[in-house]
Amino acid sequence: MSNELEKKENIFRFKFMIHIAMFLAVLALSVVLNETNDLSIYSTGFLAMSPVVPIIFLLRLIISHYRSLDEYIQSVMGASLLWAVGVVGCAAMAYGLLSEMVEVPTFSPAFMLPAIAVIFGIAQFIQLKGDAHEE
């Protein structure tokens, strides 16, 4: 990776970690405040959903980073996202159809976005594996 690209990548990684830290901090705060205080249903709901706000800012960061990447990496990321959404979507559909017929353990929709992120990372790794070594 060239020096300039490496610098951009390091800056992105740093900002990414800051956003994740903010998400975890807001999540912890919302749980603590909800558990220790007797709040109205609206306040409880607002606090419960508040960790999504740093995630929205993280999404903006990722989109901005995506736009700065070269065409090949953009193409790989696009294909990886399609795989991630497809796999998680199919799994969700299978789960939904199964739950209509048999008793299944409950599954929180809050895990959908992390599942997409994990599958995205795996798909990107697989696609870039072939380009890892200079021929």
Partner: protein, 66 residues
């Protein structure tokens, strides 16, 4: 239309690694590798940048697979 190219030959003539070429073009090394191996066809902008870097025309670097 699948394309072939002689990027590897041109790189070797200039004694450049994929990383060197990537730095000159402002793209990732993976992008250079993908273009060389035919996994990815460059955009017009990148094709012109490659031609400019090697001092050749696009048609002299990229050609359709027979």
């Amino acid at each position: 239309m699948p394309m072939k190219n002689k990027l590897r030959v041109l790189r070797a003539e200039n004694c450049w690694s994929q990383a060197d070429l990537a730095e000159r073009l402002g793209v990732s090394r993976q992008a250079v590798n993908a273009i060389e191996t035919g996994k990815h066809d460059p955009s017009l902008t990148l094709a012109f940048a490659l031609a400019d870097t090697f001092g050749q025309r696009i048609e002299e670097i990229f050609f359709p697979k027979a």
